[in-house]
Structure formats: structure tokens, C-alpha cells
Symmetry: C2
Subunit: 342 residues, 2 copies
DNA sequence: CTGAAAGCGCTTACAG
DNA sequence: CTGAAAGCGCTTACAG
């Protein structure tokens, strides 16, 4: 690797002090237009692309880098349409503000990542983080926005999961004769696809998946329907094949559920696929609802009834709040989208 | 923002020289286990998370950051299943190697981004870049891998687009009576969805979309079929609504094509949707093929015949090659996947 | 095993 | 408008 030119080298090469060259790049008002142009042209010619970000950050304490701290691994996040929509929204706003994006995951606990946390001058946390990254960022005093979770005195963007799910369940369930079921992710700590137990329902849980679950239960209650624990399936991860397994468990029961409330569109898509394999019609034999309103929800056969989370707008908002040093705690709208599936 | 502790502060607080604390974090063999443990514990207690990455990078010339340089905007890339698959593969490998990910786009030409290019100690270019970022990285001498394009003496990962498309066209087209058509993106420089002209076919083009186009033409020739320029539709961007417009143009022609070769699965999905709207059956009235084999290709109704690009594996390979300082120029397999659509 | 000191490439108050 | 100099927070060869 060639040694790159430094300000000092350039200073010698073109016979102007380092301060002036630095000013040519960073503070145009500090020198004459003519000199500035000459310097910039010479730099171009000799192949100096401007001051190094690292030295500049060290000196000025500002990096213009924003970190997105994901609560899942980067690899999983890239496969999750909600996460990628959200990041697309963030990057749209940050690109305009000339910020760079560093991708971090709280699932990683290496020294390298902890070190990397010193680089960004702002953080967007997406989902409740593992480990101590959150604590370290709070301690650093750097601006941050948290999304899809909550912490006292920290600006945040959330949706009302309980209310959205209550509305959705109340729409999909018609009366007490219906047999509703739920498929959700990360309800309990278990690596298997299986129903939860009555005991799991006892405790007051704060996680998003439980806010949704309690919303479904409330919506069912409005229609005088019961959702039994044995009809509430836990998936360790929000992926298609686990969802298919959950769907098969439910749809092969003697007393087959005729409404399946899914905590993501991915799950709902899987349920529709399994229903097709079993020659069950959606919504005729079983009504299916999703959550998120990802692009594929509309293209699914049949198109999914779901809750629109507006991941892209969520990302835009979080990024704008970070740039504006907002201290608000925003609750975004999550709208019921009725299509054909349920 | 609170001032964070520096090595010097910590040194005073716990009465050990800065060098020793640095060694406690970075070179465990340079001090006794007992002392190291004491130092780490004290640091934990007073809230010092270890040496700052910025200062360390400046001093040591190594950042453990890898940049992914995308040829599209970050916002678009997050909506492109191939790009996200590819990045998922990269991050899987790099996370294990304790590398951090900086996301850059060659569509951005700000000083801030140019500065940011000084941070990473390795680059993965995805798609032929705009502007001078490629030139600057080459000049820096830092390791890089380019993907989906080519440059003399630069290690790369590609697939044989021509051969794959030839095979696909030869599969989908049955004889000279068939009326095949093509929908591709970025064939010409034009912001409208419209057919190309005979003149556009004259020049020798290197872009991926033209490699594919020439492959389709070669495959058609094998089956004695002609693809007229008026049946080759250009889309400015690979997005669903443009693809739908292209599909409508083709399917409303008096002499309606009965084979549509699409340069991405997204386009093929759009064509299937339009066909459904027009009450045309796929593959009965019109055979449709995709490219990429994204997850949704298999879930589409009907499931898509397509070319599997293995974006995830491509990302893994590119990342591994970067870490290994490979200088190979790899041509990956792209396999024909025959499903029901064509 | 430990510490004093140089220097990585910048920015910025300050003096001229 | 321009330049000399301090210092951002580290790592590392070197001396003890």
C-alpha cells in the first residue's frame, strides 16, 4: 500500500502552509478565491484528495458518521424487509446531510466494535439492543434516537403496537364461534417452533411482540372470542421456514383455527403458502392477517390484510430527529390496511 | 456532550502508564495477567470503554473498517433484493473477522464522502461506479474487490451474464413462430420506459444489461426466432411500477409477444401481475422469465423460471477474497432454474 | 514487566 | 491574507 500524501507533503510540494491548505478545503472564507483555486487545482494534479477523515475527527471531535445500531445481526437485518425499508429511509435523509453510515449490531460484543462506537457522532438504535452498547452511548453523551423501544428521557420513534393489533384482530375475528390463532416471533426464549403455555401469559411483558399479543387478545375479546395458549405459536426467528412449520402445526389441528393473526407479513405469506399446499382457501377456510405492510404484502395471493408500519417514513423521521437534536418521543400512526386475505 | 475519558486520564486515575493500559487492551502478552485484569476492571468501573478507534487508526494506520461502495444510492440499494442479499453475505464474513461496515455510494460526490474514503482499509465495489471514487481507491493502494464489473489487474467476482441469458432464452423460446420480447433496465440513457432502436444495437456495449441482452439474442437465434428492437423495452430503473408500464406496452401490442425475457425477477413479477390484470395466463398465453432468483421468485404465482445469481454467496466470496488479499478474477456459476412461469 | 517520548495528520486560535 | 505551533488520543520502539 502506497503511502498517501499528507497535508505536510502537499504544503512542501506547492509551497503554501498546511493551515492555508486546510482552509482551502474547509473554510473558503479564510483565503482569497484565486489562491484557493490554485491550491485545489494543484491538489487534484498531485493526487491529494483532501484532508483525511481520521486526523480531522481526532482533532475536531466530529466525524460526520452516524451509526445504525441494529438489535439483530447485520446479516439477518439485510434479509428483513422492515429493517431494509427503515434503513432506506434513514439513508435518504442522511445522504442529503452529508453524513456517512456505519452499520453496527448490538449482537456483536467484540473489542473492535466497542472501539468503532467511538467514531460516530450520532446513533440510531433500531430495536431493543443486547449488551452494553446502549449504556456506553448514553454515557458518551452523543445524540441518539431509539426506534421500536423505549427508555426514560431518550428521544424515540414508536408505533402503538397494542392498539394496532387490537384493531386488526377485531376486524379479522367476527364472533365467538371463530377459532383464532396467533403466530409470533420471540415470544419466549426457546429455539423451537411451538405453542406458548398459559403460564407465559401471566407476566407483564414489555417487548413489542407481547404488546402485539396483548393487542390481539384484546381485539378477540371485543368479539367474544378466545385465543388459547395452544393456538399461540412462538417462532424463534422471523423467517419463512419457521413460519411454515408454525402454520402446519396450526392447520393440521383437529379443531383447525379459521383466523390466523401473524406478527409479520413474512409469517402471513408463509401461512398462505401452507394453506395453498393443504388446499385450504384464504380467506374462505382461514383468514390470515400480517403486520408491517412490506411491498410483497400487496403482491401476495391473496393480497394481505395487514398493519402498515411505514418503515421508510420511520427511518426518515428518526434520521431527521437525530440531525435536529430532537428530544421528542414520537408515536407514529400504524394504519389497518384491509385487503383480501382476512 | 460529556468529554470522554482518554488514556491519559485513565493513566492518572489508576496510576499506571498509558503504554501499559494500551497494552492491556491490545497486547495482553506485554504485561502480567494480574495487572491486566486489574486495569480492565478499573477501566470498567470508571467508565472507560477502551482506546478510541480514531486515535488508534491515525496512529496505527489501520481502522478495521471495510467500505461497501455501491454504484446506486444507498436508498435504492436497500430496496433491491440482490443488493441486500449481497450485503448480507458480506456482513456474515466480515462480522466474524471483526470488521466494521461503512456504507458508501459512488453516486455521492460530496467532500464528506471523499474524506470518509480515507477511513476504511479495504473496499468492495458493487457495480460499475460513477465518478472518481474508484480511481482514488486504486491510487490509495488499499485492497479492493470489484463485483459485477471488471477492471484490468483488479480482483473481481462476476457471473457470465451472456451465457446465462443465452441458455435462458434458448429454454424459453421454442421455435421461430414464437414472438419473444425483452424488458431490461439501463439499456440506454433515457428517463422514459420505451423500446430501444435498431441503432442502439449497433455498438459494442460492455454493461451487464447489454451482456444479458446479447445473450438473449444469441439464445433466440438458436431457436430461429427474432427479437425486434421494438420488442426490447428499456426501463430507467429496476422498479416495479416502471416494469408494469413496460409490460403493458408489450402486452397491448397487436402482435402480442408470447415470451417475455426480463432482466430481473422484480420485472418478471410485474409482468405476471399485468398479465393477470389482462386475463392472460402465464405461461399459457405468455411465458415469463426473470433473473436473479430472489426469494420472492419462488413464491410468485406462478413461480418464476429464472437465473440464480446467488447474491449471498457472491457477498461471502467477495468478503473472503478481500480478507485474503486475493488477486483472483472469479467467474461464479449462474444456474438456470426452471419453474412454472416460462 | 513498565514508563517516557515521538509522531500519526490534521484544525484552529493566535501572531504577524 | 498567511504561517508557526499546540494538541486531539492513541501505539510502539526503546530504554530501564
Amino acid at each position: 500500500m502506497k503511502k498517501n500524501l499528507s497535508l505536510k507533503d502537499v504544503s512542501k510540494l506547492i509551497g503554501v502552509s498546511t493551515a492555508t491548505i486546510s482552509n482551502a478545503f474547509n473554510r473558503p472564507d479564510q483565503l482569497s478565491v484565486a489562491l484557493r483555486e490554485r491550491i485545489l487545482k494543484e491538489c487534484e494534479r498531485i493526487g491529494y484528495s483532501g484532508p483525511s477523515m481520521i486526523a480531522r475527527s481526532l482533532r475536531s471531535g466530529q466525524s460526520d458518521v452516524v451509526a445504525i445500531m441494529l438489535s439483530d445481526s447485520l446479516t439477518y437485518s439485510f434479509s428483513d424487509p422492515m429493517a431494509t425499508d427503515f434503513m432506506a429511509g434513514i439513508t435518504e435523509v442522511l445522504a442529503k446531510a452529508h453524513k456517512q453510515i456505519l452499520l453496527l449490531s448490538s449482537t456483536i460484543k467484540s473489542d473492535a466494535q466497542i472501539r468503532a462506537e467511538s467514531l460516530p457522532d450520532g446513533f440510531i438504535f433500531y430495536g431493543a439492543p443486547e449488551g452494553d452498547s446502549f449504556k456506553r452511548v448514553i454515557r458518551s453523551g452523543k445524540p441518539l434516537i431509539v426506534v421500536d423501544f423505549d427508555f426514560p428521557d431518550v428521544p424515540s420513534v414508536n408505533i402503538d403496537n397494542f392498539e394496532a393489533c387490537k384493531q386488526l384482530a377485531s376486524h379479522a375475528i367476527q364472533n365467538g364461534i371463530d377459532v383464532p390463532a396467533i403466530i409470533g416471533m420471540r415470544l419466549v426464549t426457546d429455539n423451537h417452533v411451538k405453542p406458548i403455555t398459559a403460564g407465559d401469559l401471566d407476566h407483564d411483558k414489555q417487548e413489542i411482540s407481547w404488546q402485539r399479543l396483548f393487542g390481539y387478545l384484546a381485539g378477540a375479546q371485543e368479539k367474544s372470542a378466545d385465543i388459547l395458549p395452544e393456538n399461540i405459536i412462538h417462532l424463534p426467528v422471523n423467517v419463512l421456514d419457521q413460519a411454515e412449520e408454525g402454520a402446519r402445526q396450526l392447520l393440521s389441528k383437529p379443531k383447525r383455527p379459521n383466523v390466523i393473526l401473524c406478527m409479520s407479513d413474512i409469517i402471513a405469506i408463509a401461512v398462505c403458502k401452507v394453506a395453498r399446499e393443504l388446499n385450504l382457501s384464504v380467506p374462505g377456510d382461514v383468514r390470515v392477517t400480517g403486520f408491517d405492510d412490506i411491498a410483497e404484502a400487496e403482491r401476495n395471493q391473496p393480497p394481505l390484510t395487514t398493519i402498515s408500519q411505514q418503515g421508510y417514513e420511520k427511518g426518515q423521521l428518526a434520521a431527521r430527529m437525530l440531525l435536529d437534536k430532537s428530544d421528542e418521543r414520537v408515536m407514529m400512526d400504524a394504519k389497518l390496511v384491509v385487503r383480501e386475505s382476512g
